[in-house]
Symmetry: C2
């Protein structure tokens, strides 16, 4: 569904009218709701397994660790009635699980999570080991203080307590939330409203290089009507969050050539064209003063309807606080707000250099000037599309583009010489319609539990790049990313943690989803 | 005479008409001419002393070496009838010498040369020691082959032979040429047409930091009607060369501030203004596509008349060969030719940096971007004038200029934040009218000997920066720089050398100058 945004949303919005799109997100009464107390109880009953799971190292550089996780998870799913099947992946298997009672009349949802974790540097952790989870509460000074793990199993659990350990949030927490939600359904005697399939990736933290191959090999097994990806952090407000895509990443490099060798700036200043100034002029012309890319066609494929704009404007981003934290007075004017800005491909100068600044500066005309760009791509504007536009733009500014270093003949012939290269960083953008069937189902599942006041946070496209495209491309079904963990979970870093209130709400979310009619 | 160009030349050109300026440079019959054979003979007679002088180390970091040079030179000038006076300079004296027979009715010319030399790295020299001069001729393969020094004293001396040794060209050669020219006058029974004073600087290779102070202390002793500076290389064609000024050097630095810290380019690309792009836009707007500075007023003080343009166009620069050597197809269009380009102040980006390029590149929005500039100044457009114009220009582009790093309050208040600093590099521009009395006298002295076909090379302003301003400022008289040594003398480097044909012509030049009526 990588390129699904523009055609579908445009058609849908046209068909149903702008107010119609909004009405698609009204809650319906069918989803079952897990009461907070019941969720708390089921969560608490699952914490022993959660701590067990966190104690198994899961950096995918160690295949034997991945296999230990898979074996542990296989028994945890089986215990709950799932059929399971490790999916071979060069010694680092992924795990497939399917809930019993599949019905042809029901839609099938594939839940994606990952069992692997980021590498650790144990010395940076404020606990004995990242693989020995600990329970902490916030002290009077705002520091995290360890408390006895026994607190987790007797009496009330404070939702603000946190479990610290690698993958507590990313992404073992959500796996356990799903299992606890199953337990809750069983306890309530409730049947799921959809057929439930689960796939647990084993190399997500390496950019999911193998998920496509594994899914391709098991297309029939994984067949579904939509995917739900439980990964990443919720919106900073901790409101229920639905995400429909993310930008991809591409890189590009421009080198503008000057004289063959650096020249004395006294003898040649005002005579020999300065490549740093030329690069500056070239780059400077690529954006206008408001920060919008001026290269023709750069934003041409992005189509946003009024309904989508309204949903984006409703995301409770505190831009005033954001700007203060970043230290800027004004944002670029690419979009009307932060969310809207992220719908467009970006052109970012991530590095620039000519000769030296500081101690090593010398009075020379540099021989070349370089700029490293990164382009965040969108489903309809990929690396090839954007790279070609930039290349054409550079040529149109009078540059003759060379491969490598210009020859003497090229130097004699062309006034302006540059090289330009671009390529995807291997992570493409992904996008799925905000009103796809699975999106409507997810909205109902979430609002059936948490209501619509306030509305869930709906994010059309995250600015950053995660391997969603790799995950969703093979099956080519619509998807929704539904993060469940607290935004301040120290994901990827030391002292990763999960807020237990999020664990409980995650169980409620999954219960709501699985029992919502599709 | 630092600022003498514009007012005088403009007035003069107006008074005499444009063709009048040209006629000022017609040769007159009064200068005595030293025949090549006689010059060759006097040169040869002086070579023993020349080699002696070259054998005394003269890096001014060693005051005792400077004193040894001064003592040697004092006897050499006295032997020829000069009165001499070491001028105290913190242990590194300069030497003043005056030729006897001063007449109040005659104009007085002060000849400037320097006795100190650049530091040496003996291992880089293709001879035993930089302080043991050797004689070489060009071999069949174009290599320099040592030949017996005895060749210098018996039989004909090939003008293409060269003496290799530190300061052979820069600047002991010209000192000895002057002494040999005195010998030639004595041998011919000729009287000089001007009163002759000489000052030998002892710290020129350190940028003449002390010359101003020493000259100030001896203003009356040094009083003169004009200065002749024998230093630096002749035009590459080896034609007689008259130079009337050189640009100065100033430095400036622009820092454009972005977010407080580097930010994730996925989350913030398209939202947080990129300081590298802003710096690029700012710098890029400072020059137009032809390379001309667009900052209002930058070139406003430069006034060139048609006569000067003709003189500059007549300089036999081989721009085609120059461009091929440099590796550019087209020069900037600041001036109609290379010489004209150097009449204007320059704005050169000597270094530029934001975050990293190459191995260390990261997907971030940089927190700042920096550009180091060097500005070549002209007598009427000094560092303060140009720096202020750039500062005003930056402010006019909407930047709030801060000292150091912006505060949170400044960040909240101003969209565009930058810092800008500038300062002279301690070397100011110098310029003297091309038609000053001493310039006319010098032209006559040179053309009286070498004729006007071809014309001497007249350079209004060198692009590079040498300490002329320091040398001429105290006396505030017009000056001409008359280099005498071959352009390929390896000045400042290993294997410095002097072409003996230049030595002989230097003797003829000085003879012609000293006998030309002022």
């Amino acid at each position: 569904m990588r390129n699904a945004f523009a055609p579908c949303l445009t058609l849908c919005a046209a068909a149903i009218g702008i107010s119609g799109l909004s009405s698609l997100f009204s809650p319906v009464a069918h989803a079952a709701t897990l009461a907070p107390e019941a969720a708390q109880q089921q969560a608490q009953a699952s914490y022993r397994e959660y701590l067990d799971l966190l104690s198994i190292p899961n950096d995918s550089v160690a295949p034997e660790d991945i296999r230990r996780n898979v074996a542990w998870l296989e028994q945890a799913f089986r215990k709950r009635g799932f059929t399971t099947q490790p999916l071979d992946n060069d010694g680092k298997p992924m795990l497939f699980a399917e809930y019993p009672g599949k019905q042809a009349s029901r839609k099938t949802v594939l839940f994606y999570m990952h069992l692997d974790g980021q590498p650790v540097i144990p010395s940076q952790w404020a606990q004995k080991s990242p693989w020995t989870p600990v329970l902490k509460k916030k002290g009077a000074k705002g520091d995290w203080e360890e408390i006895d793990m026994a607190n987790l199993f007797s009496g009330a659990v404070d939702p603000e307590w946190r479990v610290f350990g690698r993958s507590s949030s990313d992404d073992k927490g959500p796996i356990m939330m799903l299992l606890a939600a199953i337990d809750a359904m069983k306890a309530a005697g409730t049947q799921p409203a959809v057929n439930i399939k689960v796939i647990l990736d084993s190399e997500e933290e390496k950019g999911s290089p193998s998920i496509g191959k594994v899914m391709q090999a098991h297309r029939d097994l994984l067949a579904c009507d939509g995917m739900i990806i439980h990964d990443g952090p919720m919106h900073a407000t901790n409101r229920p969050t639905l995400i429909f895509g993310n930008r991809g990443a591409a890189k590009a490099k421009i080198t503008v050539f000057g004289p063959k060798a650096p020249l004395h700036s006294g003898h040649y200043g005002n005579y020999v064209p300065n490549p740093a100034l030329r690069l500056a002029s070239l780059l400077g012309s690529m954006k206008d003063d408001s920060g919008r890319v001026t290269i023709p066609g750069y934003y041409a494929k992005v189509r946003l309807g009024d309904a989508e704009r309204r949903i984006m404007a409703a995301v409770p981003d505190d831009e005033k606080a954001l700007k203060a934290r970043i230290g800027i007075a004004q944002a670029e004017k690419v979009g009307a707000n932060y969310q809207e800005a992220l719908q467009y491909p970006s052109l970012n100068v991530r590095g620039m250099a000519a000769a030296a600044v500081g101690d090593k500066v010398a009075n020379i005309v540099p021989d070349k000037a370089e700029a490293e760009l990164d382009l965040r791509t969108t489903p309809d504007s990929d690396a090839a599309y954007l790279g070609k536009l930039i290349e054409q733009y550079i040529a149109k500014q009078g540059y003759h583009l060379v491969k490598g270093t210009p020859t003497d003949e090229e130097r004699a012939r062309y006034d302006k010489l540059a090289s330009f290269s671009y390529q995807s960083e291997g992570a493409n953008a992904a996008g799925s319609p905000m009103d796809s069937p699975v999106a409507k189902w997810a909205y109902q599942g979430v609002t059936g539990t948490f209501g619509t006041s306030p509305e869930p946070v709906r994010i059309r496209m995250m600015g950053g790049t995660v391997p969603t495209a790799e995950i969703v491309d093979v099956l080519n079904v619509p998807f929704v990313i539904i993060p469940l963990v607290n935004a301040d979970n120290n994901q990827h870093a030391a002292n990763e943690n999960l807020r237990l209130g999020n664990y409980v709400n995650g169980v409620r979310t999954l219960y709501g989803l699985m029992t919502a009619p599709f």
